[in-house]
C-alpha cells in the first residue's frame, strides 16, 4: 500500500502532465496571457487623443481665429480642418473621418468685443458616445480658458471658483496603471478557468474519469489532484505578469508583497473552484467551455473594471457578491496602488475564501456521488 503522500504526488504529477505534456500546450498556456498583457497594456486607453475636428468659421475674425487656436494648440486635437460649408461637415462626420465639428457664428467677435455671450456649436458623433462626451469636455475647457482671457481683455474683472485637484495613488492619472492592475486579474481568470473547467469534462469525454473514480483515491484526494497543478500554473503566470508590470511598465507596488502572494493564492483558488465546479456538472468539453464563457463574460463585465459597481442596478450589485473577480481586483488595485492594509485586504479575502469553499465542496461532492 502506497503512503497517502506518494499516491497523491503521483496523481498531481499525472494531472500536471495532462496540461503540460508538450511544447504546444505549454506555449498556448503561457504565451497568450503574457502577449496580451503586453498588447493591451500598450494599446488600450480611455483617454481620447488624436481627435480630428472640422471648423466652420462664419465669423472669420481675429477673435474667432484666436478661439480656434485654442483647439490647434491643445494636445487632444490632431488635425483642425477649416471648411466653408455645412455639407462638408456632414459628409466627413458621416464616414467618421472627423470626430467633431465646431461651428462659429458670424456674430461671434461682435459679441465678444462687447463682453456679451457668444454661442458656438460643437457637433459630435453620437456613434462613439465616450469619445463624444470626452471631446465635449475638452471643448468646454478650451472655451472657458478663452472666455477668461477675453474677459480680461474686455476689462471685465471678477471672481471664479477654481477646483484644485489632487489625484491620490495615481498623481499623473495614468490610465495604464488602472488597466494593468485589472488586466492581470482578467488574464489570470481566463487561464485558470480554461485549465480547470476542461479538466474533469475532458476525462468524462475520454472515459478516464471512471478509472479515476474507481481508483484508490478518496474524493478529497482527487480534488487536491485537480486543484494543485492548475493553481501552481496560474500563480506562476500571475507572478510573471506582475514582474512584467512592475519592470516594463513601471507600475508601482505600494503594499505588502507577501500579502499579495497570499491573496493571489486565495483568489486563484476561488477561480479554480469555480472552474472545477463548472467541469463537474458538464458532460463534455464543449459544455465546459460554454460554462466558462457564461461565467467569464459577466464576471469581467460586472467586476467594476468597465463600469463601477455602485452605479449598477441593485440586482447586479447583489450578483457581484458571487463574483471573485470583483474582490480580486479590489485587492490587486489596493496592493499595487493604494498600500491597502491587512484589515481591508482581509475583508476582500473573506468572500473569496467563501466562494472557494463553496465551489470546491460542490465539485468534490460530484466525485463522492460518482464513487457511491
Amino acid at each position: 500500500m502506497l503512503s497517502t503522500f506518494s499516491r497523491l504526488s503521483a496523481l498531481i504529477k499525472k494531472e500536471f502532465l495532462a496540461i503540460w505534456r508538450d511544447p504546444k500546450s505549454r506555449m498556448i498556456i503561457i504565451a497568450p496571457p503574457l502577449l496580451q498583457l503586453l498588447i493591451f497594456a500598450n494599446a488600450l486607453t480611455m483617454e481620447i487623443k488624436n481627435v480630428d475636428i472640422m471648423v466652420l468659421d462664419r465669423s472669420k475674425t481675429l477673435q474667432s481665429r484666436e478661439f480656434i487656436s485654442g483647439f490647434e494648440n491643445s494636445k487632444w486635437f490632431r488635425k483642425v480642418i477649416n471648411v466653408d460649408n455645412m455639407s462638408e461637415v456632414k459628409k466627413d462626420l458621416e464616414v467618421q473621418k472627423i470626430q467633431a465639428a465646431l461651428i462659429i457664428d458670424s456674430d461671434f467677435s461682435k459679441n465678444i468685443k462687447k463682453g456679451h455671450k457668444a454661442n458656438v456649436q460643437i457637433i459630435l458623433d453620437g456613434r462613439s458616445t465616450s469619445t463624444a462626451a470626452m471631446i465635449n469636455g475638452y471643448a468646454s475647457q478650451i472655451a472657458a480658458q478663452y472666455s477668461k482671457k477675453a474677459a480680461q481683455k474686455a476689462g471685465i474683472k471678477g471672481a471664479s471658483v477654481n477646483v484644485e485637484v489632487r489625484n491620490w495613488f495615481n498623481p499623473n492619472t495614468e490610465y495604464r496603471w488602472y488597466l494593468l492592475t485589472s488586466l492581470i486579474v482578467i488574464l489570470a481568470l481566463v487561464v485558470t478557468l480554461v485549465l480547470t473547467a476542461l479538466s474533469i469534462a475532458r476525462e468524462r469525454e475520454l472515459g478516464t474519469f471512471e478509472q479515476l473514480i474507481v481508483g484508490p483515491y478518496t474524493s478529497f484526494e482527487i480534488l487536491l489532484g485537480k486543484t494543485i497543478p492548475p493553481l501552481l500554473l496560474s500563480i506562476t503566470v500571475v507572478t510573471v505578469m506582475t514582474i512584467i508590470a512592475i519592470t516594463c511598465f513601471k507600475l508601482p507596488f505600494t503594499g505588502s508583497f507577501l500579502l499579495f502572494v497570499f491573496s493571489c493564492f486565495v483568489a486563484l483558488l476561488s477561480i479554480v473552484g469555480v472552474g472545477l465546479f463548472i467541469s463537474s456538472i458538464c458532460k463534455n468539453q464543449q459544455q465546459a467551455i460554454l460554462g466558462v464563457f457564461a461565467f467569464m463574460m459577466p464576471a469581467v463585465l460586472l467586476s467594476g473594471f468597465i463600469s463601477p459597481i455602485d452605479d449598477m442596478p441593485p440586482f447586479f450589485q447583489h450578483l457581484t457578491w458571487l463574483n471573485p473577480i470583483r474582490f480580486f481586483m479590489n485587492i490587486s488595485r489596493g496592493l499595487f496602488l493604494k498600500d491597502m492594509q491587512f484589515a481591508d485586504v482581509f475583508m476582500n479575502l473573506i468572500p473569496l475564501f467563501l466562494i472557494a469553499l463553496l465551489t470546491l465542496s460542490l465539485a468534490s461532492a460530484t466525485f463522492k456521488r460518482n464513487l457511491e
Binding site: 496580451q36 471643448a139 471658483v161 467551455i289
Partner: protein, 369 residues
C-alpha cells in the same frame, strides 16, 4: 453537392444532440444583451463624494445643497478630515472635497476662490468624472449664488449637438456592438471546438482519408455553423430592437449581408485554430485569445482605436471585429451609409476569403500527405 448536404445534415444532427450549442447560439447572446443593457454604464456615472466644509458662511451651505441635489453625485458630509481621507483609501468615496474657510470671503472680495478636491486615482475613470462634476456643479452654483454679479462671465458658450444619438446613450452603441462578441463566440469558439473534437477522436482523419473532395469537407464545416450563426444573429437583433428598444435606423438586408461576411471570417479563424491545435483544450484557449478578447478589447467597442499607438492601430486592421463594430454602430444609429458599408464589407470579404483559402489549403494538404 449531395455530399455537402449529407455533411451539413450530419453536423446539424450533432448540433441538436448537444443542447449546449443552442445555449451558445441563443441563451448567451440574450444574457450578454441583458448585461450590456443594465449592468454596464459607460455614460456619466453616479459617484460618491465626501465633503468637508470649513466655511461657516450660510451662502456656502447652498453649495453643499447643490452637491446634494445633483443626480450625478451622492454626497456625504464629513466633520473629520482624517476620516474622509481614510474612506478614500477604503474606496468608500471616490472624491473628497474641501471647502476652505476663506472660500466665501474671497468670492465676496472678487477674488478667485479655491476648492480642494482629492480623487481616488486608482479608479481613474471615476476620478475624471468626479473632477468634471465638481467643476460643473460649483460653477453652476456660482452663477446663481449671491456672488453672481462678481463672477467673470463665461463669454463663450458651447452648445453641443450629438448627431445620430441625441441623448448620447451608450447602450444604443454597445448593445449592437455586443453582436461582435456573440458572433465570434459561434464562429470561432464553437466551430473550433467541434472540429477539434473530430481531430481528437480521429473522425476527421478518417474523413480525410476517403476520396471526398476537400472542398466538400470544408463547405460541410462552414455551412452548418454559418446557419447557426445567422439564426443567432436574427434572434439577437430582434431581441435588441423589439424587446430592449434599441433604435435601428439602417436596412436589415445590409445588416444581414455585412454580418454574414463577418461570420464568414470568424468561421475561417475557428477552423484554422482547430486544424492547428487538434485538441479541444488548446482550441478553446486559442479561440479566447484570437476571438473573444480582441472582439471585446481591440474592436473599438469600449476602447477607442484612434487613441491607440499607431502600431496597434495597424494590428486592429487585421482583426475582423474592428470592421464589424464600426459598421454595426453606424448601421444601427446613422442608417445605411454606402461608403461605411462598402469599405468595411470589403475588408471583411478580403479577410474572410484569405482565411477560407488557408482552411482549404490545410485540408487539401492533409489529403495528399
Amino acid at each position: 453537392m449531395k455530399i455537402v448536404l449529407a455533411f451539413v445534415k450530419k453536423e446539424f444532427l450533432q448540433i441538436i444532440k448537444d443542447p449546449s450549442s443552442l445555449v451558445i447560439a441563443f441563451i448567451i447572446p440574450l444574457m450578454l444583451i441583458f448585461i450590456y443593457m443594465y449592468g454596464v454604464n459607460l455614460d456619466a456615472v453616479k459617484i460618491t463624494l465626501g465633503i468637508k466644509n470649513d466655511d461657516s458662511n450660510p451662502e456656502v451651505s447652498s453649495l453643499m445643497k447643490s452637491f446634494g441635489h445633483s443626480k450625478y453625485v451622492r454626497s456625504q458630509v464629513y466633520e473629520d478630515k482624517e476620516r474622509m481621507y481614510e474612506d478614500i483609501v477604503r474606496s468608500k468615496i471616490k472624491g473628497a472635497l474641501i471647502i476652505p474657510n476663506d472660500f466665501s470671503t474671497k468670492l465676496a472680495s472678487k477674488q478667485d476662490a479655491q476648492l480642494l478636491l482629492i480623487t481616488d486615482g486608482a479608479e481613474i475613470n471615476q476620478a475624471s468624472y468626479t473632477q468634471s462634476y465638481v467643476n460643473a456643479i460649483s460653477n453652476m452654483w456660482l452663477a446663481s449664488s449671491k456672488y453672481k454679479s462678481f463672477v467673470t462671465p463665461q463669454l463663450v458658450n458651447v452648445e453641443s449637438r450629438y448627431w445620430y444619438n441625441q441623448d448620447i446613450d451608450s447602450h444604443h452603441v454597445i448593445v449592437p456592438a455586443s453582436l461582435a462578441v456573440t458572433m465570434s463566440l459561434i464562429g470561432i469558439l464553437l466551430t473550433a471546438l467541434v472540429v477539434a473534437r473530430e481531430w481528437e477522436r480521429g473522425t476527421m482523419e478518417s474523413l480525410l482519408s476517403t476520396n471526398i473532395k476537400p472542398i466538400h469537407i470544408v463547405l460541410g464545416k462552414y455551412i452548418p455553423y454559418f446557419v447557426v450563426g445567422m439564426l443567432s444573429l436574427t434572434f439577437s437583433v430582434s431581441m435588441m430592437v423589439l424587446v430592449f428598444g434599441i433604435p435601428f435606423r439602417g436596412n436589415y438586408f445590409v445588416l444581414f449581408f455585412v454580418s454574414s461576411l463577418f461570420l464568414f471570417t470568424c468561421l475561417g479563424i475557428g477552423l484554422i485554430i482547430s486544424t492547428l491545435t487538434k485538441n479541444q483544450l488548446l482550441a478553446s484557449m486559442a479561440s479566447l485569445v484570437a476571438g473573444f478578447l480582441p472582439a471585446l478589447m481591440l474592436s473599438g467597442m469600449i476602447f477607442p482605436i484612434n487613441s491607440m499607438p499607431i502600431g496597434f492601430q495597424w494590428l486592429t486592421q487585421v482583426l475582423p471585429p474592428r470592421y464589424f463594430v464600426t459598421f454595426i454602430r453606424s448601421e444601427f444609429l446613422a442608417g445605411t451609409i454606402p461608403s461605411v458599408v462598402l469599405l468595411n464589407s470589403l475588408f471583411l470579404f478580403v479577410l474572410g476569403t484569405l482565411f477560407f483559402m488557408l482552411v482549404y489549403k490545410k485540408t487539401a494538404r492533409r489529403l495528399d500527405a
